[in-house]
Amino acid sequence: MPYPEQMVAPMRAELTSSGVQELRTPAEVDDFFAQTQGTALLLVNSVCGCAAGSARPAVLKAMEHTTRPDRFATVFAGQDVEATQRARELIGDVPPSSPSVAVMKDGELVHFVPRHLIEGRSAEDVARDLAAAFDDICN
């Protein structure tokens, strides 16, 4: 059951205010994935403070890295259920995980950070790992 919107609005704004495109509907997800050229990052957001509390700032911190994907987007698991379901169908053959981070290159999933590699870690640590992945993928 989704949380009250006023509760999750700051979690959305934390990302959108920094330029992350929020995908609220399956159609918006389809549009995002339709562009297959280049690199893209998709954050599956979550209300879970255990891990999403690090995932959101980690992505924002990683966005400051000089080498980075061309596009950044997010879907909100548990809130925008249909959009998240569609995103999971398109990400690739990986188990549902929220929060999680998927990095695509030319339409293919090339890097995936599931929840268990986020939980219990600082945003700085997760961001450092993302930046290292960007260096490998986005050059």
């Binding site: 891990a51 950070v113 939980e119």
Partner: protein
């Protein structure tokens, strides 16, 4: 390690691997109480299931996670051989693959199941003290007024690399991982044990010595003085 629920079990909210003799369970640890371990959103795998060994199953789980088979599963702690974070089975977060998980199978896990003794000296021992460190601890313990104390090792947030080591003499506490040494015991709380697995504690005496020194294979970064580290 642990989550923002500071009042709960250190493994609460952490995706863990619980192993029995033949079966591996992967799920988010909800709680450990009354001799049970409760996992949510859990999967399980038996040796040879779907043509995969447990090591092969864990290698993929560590990299991508698992498909949920159980909303909630309650395990008898007495049946568990080990309980450890799934992330421990991944070489280093951020790497495309993990040689440790994919080629060598899972590493020995710190036994978090019941706070019991962690076994005798050997490869499974979570911390190792050099003879020099043992001798210095025994010398210092002999000067303590309170009998029966052990060496408590831990980690805390702080220092220029993010985490700092803590050492003190203390009594054994419920839930401690206990490492027997010659003449005393080493205690690690469960949360610290995750960070300290595999460390070696040395001691350098004399004018040029640095006192107690931690050699931490888990550290990805250390500060110049060696008193803080990152994992």
């Amino acid at each position: 390690m642990g989550t923002f629920h500071d009042t709960r079990d250190p493994l609460h909210g952490i995706t863990v691997v619980a192993t029995t003799r033949d079966t591996v369970f992967v799920g988010r640890c909800h709680e450990r109480a009354e001799g049970t371990v409760v996992l949510v959103d859990a999967d399980e795998h038996s040796e040879g299931q779907d043509g995969k060994t447990n090591a092969e199953y864990l290698a993929r789980a560590a990299r991508f996670g698992v498909w949920k088979k159980h909303d909630r599963i309650v395990l008898d702690a007495a049946d568990l051989a080990s309980l450890a974070p799934l992330s421990d089975f991944y070489g280093r977060p951020g790497q495309a693959a993990t040689k440790r998980a994919e080629e060598s199978g899972p590493p020995p896990a710190v036994d978090h199941t019941a706070g019991e003794t962690a076994g005798s000296a050997g490869e499974d021992q979570p911390v190792v003290l050099t003879p020099a460190a043992v001798a210095e601890v025994k010398r210092l313990l002999a000067a303590e007024a309170e009998p029966g104390l052990g060496l408590r090792l831990g980690v805390a947030g702080g220092g220029c690399s993010g985490l700092t080591y803590k050492t003190e003499f203390s009594a054994r506490r419920d839930g401690d991982v206990v490492v027997p040494e010659d003449g005393f015991e080493v205690y690690l709380d469960r949360k610290s044990a995750i960070y300290l697995r595999g460390i070696t504690l040395d001691h350098q005496s004399g004018l040029g010595g640095k006192g107690f020194q931690f050699q931490n294979p888990n550290a990805t970064n250390t500060c110049g003085c060696g008193e803080s580290f990152a994992v």
